[in-house]
């Protein structure tokens, strides 16, 4: 039975006018309620040298004391440390993950510094892709760990970007939304800051680094985004200590020569960063990560695995067919490997058996040899024993003979002495 669907000949959609209140203007609220009950995920990656103020800035941004120990400078390589926190504000639950680059810029040879970072970002994309490709998947309850924003901390040298910064940012710009910020901005004077910022931006442009562009297509946020973009990279100061200014407490850093207020727009761009990162563009950052960076990764990965959308005859290939083919290929390979391994195993067993047989034979021979020698010795010993016995018996015979002789001679002697005595006595008489 054919399923024919009749549609109007012109496919343009008609705009209807409503004659009363239908009520679907509550749709955005329905959507928001759903999202609120599920909670939000936001993952920030902080890339910067040790001691540049990443943890302090996170504490200041989110107004909480995330516990962490300051890192040492002795790390052998760059490693990433991810920590998750659950923040709640009014009825919004945010699952925040902060990823720190520990040991960045500390090594003598910094060639491979960017590699662990790129690997981490790719690993998160890979995990999401795996979940998406599963047959039985649960995307709605999946904890999204993909990095939504990368805050790149630039050291406040006042001159220009370091080559490490350029190399790292170039590697990261197609994988994550990069927001460059100048850290510890209270060490730069105002006039130097302006020069520094323009130098950095021109270097980024000339090297082709794609940093995150604040969206300017939506009228409500276009204006604020446009004005803020001019101030990139934001020069920030972080502080969790409060100092009394005027009649209220404010986050600030106290120096002998003055107080740097974090939330004062004349002192630093912290407020701008907070506006842009959290209050205005958090959702856009997440969307860009999903629709641009993740899709790019997915496309590259699938093409790498050999999938195509259309084959050379421009007939649509299906992911499923190639997947099937690959699967069969893989299974075939697996079987072959199994066969190989089995063969090898059998061969090894045979060899071992042969060896063991050899050893057994040797042992038998040894045993026989031993037995023979043992018997020979035994015989020798018996012979000797016999000889000894013979000697002993000879000796006994001789002894008895000698004794007899002795006793005979004694008797004869005694008789003789008796005779002599008698003789003597006779003589004396």
């Amino acid at each position: 039975m054919a399923v024919a669907v009749g549609r109007p000949s012109n496919e343009e959609l008609r705009n209807l006018s409503l004659s009363g209140h239908v009520g679907f203007d509550s749709l955005p609220d329905q959507l928001v309620n759903k999202s609120t009950s599920q909670g939000f995920c936001f993952n920030i990656l902080c890339v910067g040298e040790t001691g540049i103020g990443k943890s302090t800035l996170m504490d200041t941004l989110f107004n909480t004391k995330f516990e962490s120990d300051p890192a040492t400078h002795n790390e052998p390589g760059v490693r990433l440390k991810a920590r998750s926190y659950e923040l709640q504000e009014s009825n919004v639950r945010l699952k925040l993950t902060i990823v720190d680059t520990v040991g960045f810029g500390d090594q003598i040879n910094k060639d491979d510094s960017y590699r662990p970072i790129v690997e981490y970002i790719d690993a998160q994309f890979e995990a999401y892709l795996q979940e998406e490709l599963k047959i039985r998947r649960s995307l709605f309850s999946y904890h999204d760990s993909r990095v939504h924003a990368c805050l790149y901390f630039i050291a406040p040298t006042g001159h220009s970007l370091k080559s490490l910064d350029l190399v790292t940012m170039k590697k990261l710009d197609s994988k994550v939304n990069i927001i460059p910020i100048i850290a510890k901005a209270d060490t730069i004077a105002k006039n130097e800051l302006h020069k520094f910022k323009s130098k950095i931006m021109s270097e980024l442009v000339s090297n082709g680094v794609q940093i995150y562009q604040f969206p300017t297509d939506e009228e409500t946020v276009a204006e604020i985004n446009a004005t803020m973009s001019v101030h990139l990279p934001f020069a920030v100061v972080g502080s969790t200590e409060e100092v009394k200014i005027g009649n209220k407490m404010a986050k600030a850093r106290q120096y002998p020569w003055g107080v740097v207020q974090v939330e004062n727009e004349n002192h630093c761009d912290f407020v701008k960063l907070r506006e842009m990162l959290i209050r205005v563009n958090m959702e856009d950052l997440r969307e860009q990560t999903h629709t641009r960076h993740y899709e790019l990764y997915r496309r590259c990965k699938l093409e790498e695995m050999g999938f195509k959308d259309t084959d050379p005859d421009s007939k649509p290939f299906s992911l499923q067919e190639t997947y099937e083919a690959k699967r069969n290929e893989f299974l075939g390979e697996l079987q072959k490997k199994e066969e190989e391994m089995r063969q090898m195993f059998v061969m090894r067993v045979k060899e071992k058996e042969a060896e063991l047989k050899e050893a057994e034979k040797e042992l038998h021979e040894k045993f026989d040899l031993l037995k023979r020698t043992h018997q020979e010795e035994k015989k020798k010993v018996e012979d000797k024993k016999k000889e000894l016995e013979e000697e002993v018996s000879n000796f006994q015979k001789k002894k008895t003979a000698a004794q007899l002789l002795q006793s005979q001679t004694q008797q004869a002697g005694a008789q003789q002495t008796k005779k002599d005595k008698d003789k003597k006595n006779f003589f004396f008489m």
């Binding site: 039975m1 399923v3 024919a4 669907v5 549609r7 959609l13 008609r14 705009n15 209807l16 409503l18 004659s19 009363g20 239908v22 009520g23 679907f24 203007d25 749709l27 609220d29 329905q30 959507l31 759903k34 999202s35 009950s37 909670g39 939000f40 107004n63 909480t64 920590r83 998750s84 926190y85 659950e86 923040l87 709640q88 504000e89 919004v92 699952k95 993950t97 047959i135 649960s138 709605f140 309850s141 904890h143 760990s145 939506e218 409500t220 946020v221 506006e275 959290i278 209050r279 205005v280 563009n281 959702e283 496309r299 093409e303 999938f307 959308d309 007939k315 299906s318 499923q320 067919e321």
Partner: protein
């Protein structure tokens, strides 16, 4: 192979990272501004909603749709006696964009004229199931592309309103067959059509009998009990489940009652006000479909029904042999659903691809 129901409980089954200690913010950070950002994004993108109405002719489906969305979506087909009853079930879709207070909604209504009108109504639900699965298939095709669109157009049927004729007895075999099959692939909301032919007591007993039928046959209509996420949802949905199926009356003419202009049907014995809860339960249906559960309908379609279809589809492509009977996941396919009868599916797939080429 029964498609599994997965309960979409996002909060409780969220895999948590090794350490997620809750933190209290000491000052205002501005995280809740993300809600406004979401709203702005949603309003810019617009919403989509696809609804299907199923029922025998003359039950007031087109009128009901017009009343629901307060506009002339369909021209009422009431007095079209000259038109012969179509031999095959031809689904008709119409799409409109309606806007209210800045919220744009792309509404697609699919009608099923000829459903249950023949003498032999065997398998009259197949075209409907085929259409629903075709939409799922289209979405799946778009989703598995390498370069896919930013926003995949959603033509999947979010809600199917089934019109039960007001016999007053219980569900007929045709109704039971249809509801059984469809409640597993799409959200079904049964309504008692033309309820003005039943008195209030008759309505109540009819409703109880229908509910009893649904319970004994284990037919889960929307809102499904297994998808209640928390206690608030359960309370709200239990109230709704108590009143399903709603007894509705549709009207698109306005009359003057007590000085007010109301939508209603004028009869010799009085005017039946459509939006009066004492007369009929149309407001309940409207609130359920539009004002409170529209997003929920879409979510359940996306998270449960579409996922079930996807699982069946991806699993089956392993079992089916390669060769002429191979069901190609090519976009031109519009065959009957992936029920566990592989050889039959192959056969019909070939037939359908031939049919598609004709039209």
């Amino acid at each position: 192979m029964e498609p599994m129901r997965q309960s979409p409980s996002p909060c409780s089954s969220r895999p948590s990272s090794p350490r997620t200690p809750p933190y209290e913010t000491l000052g205002y950070v501005g995280i809740d501004a993300v809600l406004d950002q979401l709203k702005i994004k949603a309003m810019k993108m617009g919403f989509e909603f696809n609804i299907m109405v199923v029922g025998q002719s003359g039950l007031g489906k087109s009128t009901m749709v017009n009343t629901l969305f307060k506009s002339k979506i369909w021209k009422s087909t009431a007095l079209d006696l000259e038109r012969p009853i179509p031999q095959t079930l031809k689904l008709q879709s119409v799409t409109h964009i309606i806007e209210e207070k800045g919220v744009k909604l792309k509404l697609t209504v699919t009608d099923t004229p000829g459903f249950g009108d023949q003498i032999n109504n065997d398998k009259c639900w197949d075209p409907i199931l085929g259409y629903i699965n075709q939409q799922y298939e289209q979405y799946l095709q778009e989703e598995i592309l390498i370069t896919r669109q930013r926003h995949i157009p959603d033509t999947r049927v979010h809600c199917c309103v089934y019109f039960v004729p007001p016999t007053g007895h219980c569900l007929r075999p045709l109704d039971i067959e249809f509801l059984q099959r469809l409640s597993q692939t799409v959200n079904v909301v049964p309504v008692i059509a033309r309820a003005d032919s039943l008195t209030i007591e008759e309505r109540e007993s009819f409703r109880r009998r229908i509910q009893h039928n649904l319970r004994t046959l284990c037919i889960e209509v929307y809102p499904q009990k297994c998808f209640d996420e928390d206690i608030n949802d359960r309370i709200l949905n239990s109230k709704i489940r108590d009143r399903i199926p709603f007894a509705v009356v549709g009207a698109d003419r306005e009359h003057l009652v007590n000085g007010r202009c109301v939508l209603g049907r004028k009869t010799k014995w009085g005017i039946i006000e459509v939006e009066n809860l004492a007369h009929c339960e149309f407001p309940l249906l409207r609130d359920l479909l539009i004002r409170s559960h529209l997003q929920d309908l879409k979510d359940i379609t996306h998270n449960v029904h579409y996922e079930n279809y996807r699982v069946c589809r991806l699993n089956e492509s392993h079992q089916l042999p390669r060769g002429p009977g191979w069901v190609n996941l090519a976009p031109t396919l519009g065959g009957p659903p992936a029920t566990p009868r592989p050889s039959k599916v192959c056969q019909q797939a070939q037939d359908d691809s031939e049919d598609d080429e004709e039209c």
